[in-house]
């Protein structure tokens, strides 16, 4: 069972704040997500190790250099930037 403490802990790890009055609803929602995952976990697979639906494995790329993006493009969506770097203000950390 998902507890209030689990929700608070997960929110803390994700650096999200949860208000006291949201806690109960969030706990229920999270429980339903866990239940859904459990349903998948409990699906009968006849003991066969189930990997992925397409039975894909070994999808590789060759070790060949491709041109990188221009720095302006890389930084285009950055909230803050300076000196060609992403800038993280102290309060965020």
């Amino acid at each position: 069972m998902v507890s209030h403490e689990d929700v608070i802990q997960i929110a803390r790890l994700a650096k999200l704040s949860v208000k006291e009055d949201e806690l109960e609803a969030m706990t229920k929602e999270m429980q339903s997500i866990v239940d859904f995952a459990d349903a998948i976990n409990n699906a009968p697979t006849d003991g066969e190790e189930f990997d992925n639906i397409n039975n894909l494995s070994n999808v590789f790329r060759e070790d060949v250099v491709v041109e990188s993006y221009p720095t302006e493009k890389i930084l285009e969506n950055a909230g803050d930037k300076a000196d060609d770097c992403f800038l993280v203000k102290k309060r965020c950390l």
Binding site: Q9, L13, A14, K15, D51, N52, L56, S57, N58, V59, F60, R61, E62, D63, V64, V65, V66, S68, Y69, T71, I74, L75, N77, A82, D83, D84, C85, F86, L87, V88, K89, K90, C92, L93
Partner: protein, 470 residues
Amino acid sequence: MRYELVAGLETHVELSTKTKIFCGCTTEFGGSPNTHCCPICIGLPGTLPKLNKEVVRYAIRAGLATNCEISRISKMDRKNYCYPDLSKAYQISQYDKPLCKNGYIELSNGRRIRLNRIHIEEDAGKLIHQKGDTYVDYNRGGVPLIEIVTEPDFRSVDEVREYVEKLQLIMRYIGVSDCKMQEGSMRCDVNISVRPEGQKEFGTRTEIKNMNSIAFMAKAIEYEQERQIDIIESGGSVQQETLRYDDVTNTTSSMRGKEDANDYRYFRDPDLVTINVTDQEVEELEATIPELPDEKLERYVEKLGIPEADAQLLVKYRRVAEYFEKASEGTANPRTAANFIIGQIFRTIENESAKEEFDIPVSAESLRELIKLLDSKKIRMNLAKSTLDKMLETGKKVSDLISEKDMGGLDEEATKKLCQEAVDANPNAVADYKGGKEKAIKAIVGYVMKNSRGKADAMKAEEIIKQIIQ
């Protein structure tokens, strides 16, 4: 009471593939900030990572060279944590199915340091902290790493040091990494605890993160060991925590305690499919593993008759070992090449990293040519030595420095003539010698050697000079 150190190591080694682990950006070191990046390695939503085949091959080779079992089925997992060095808020790593496991590295005292696992993962970006703000450069983000995790098998700082040096050397020999600690391509985290000698149970451990020099690491372990013993001796108990080592003050300080211990919530990365490795692939990779340092050392000592201390100096640098093998090939005694390298060539090389590069003006073939002249007694050792010095200085070949007429020793007649000349030219030295200063004769012999361009036999010359003087 006496205490025993118990330590385990996690070593991150950057693989020297051309491209990053999940995209085609270059892995080149340095570069202006954020110039080796693309949407995949800065972790933008909607991008699809694709595993670099070479990373798998390099990691398997690393495993084979350290006696690991290679997993036939392996997968990638997400290690979740929120910190700006990883923009996705998770690192793609391997959790319960690492590529390699159950290996070991044997130390010179015969103890085996067991390797729990070697797994592949992506490196994080570089953070530059300035005036309270943090600048993020993702050039390093996505560079392939292997993490080599030992069991808590170390019992002394010396064992840790030897292990790291050995690991570094093996990785360099198989060419999967340059393992430059100062550039961060090899970094170590150490888990440390102490226990009273004879006790079976482990003490509470602390972890020191991200050490990038063997010397600092040794100091940090020594410091932390003492700190823990002091706590226990004064009746306290060691707290489980993660520490940072300050190489300026030589102290450790807490980064985070047990209550903030990371909770990584690993889960399978759904973007990346299973890695299947076949027996045939493992065999093929096994065949690419060259002779490793330990085997080389044994062969140099046992088969080539090189003294162990010298052999160790030769195998310590991959390029030096290669050079030695080439230069001594087909010569009468491999010790000659070893002596030239250790005695003369090393003297012209300033530091460890230059020895690592071993970029010297004399090719192995040229040195071999010189040794063969010695072998066939066409030149004498002192001429060979001075010629090698000139070769190192000028980069010229043997044939440019020694002509046909220099070859072949001086015959007795010519030696006598030169000795007479030498006696005539050094009246003071002759007087000194006659006055009882035995050593004065060396100056006269030196004159002969110089004027014969090293061709004369020094002992013979001394004999003749004594005859002339008396």
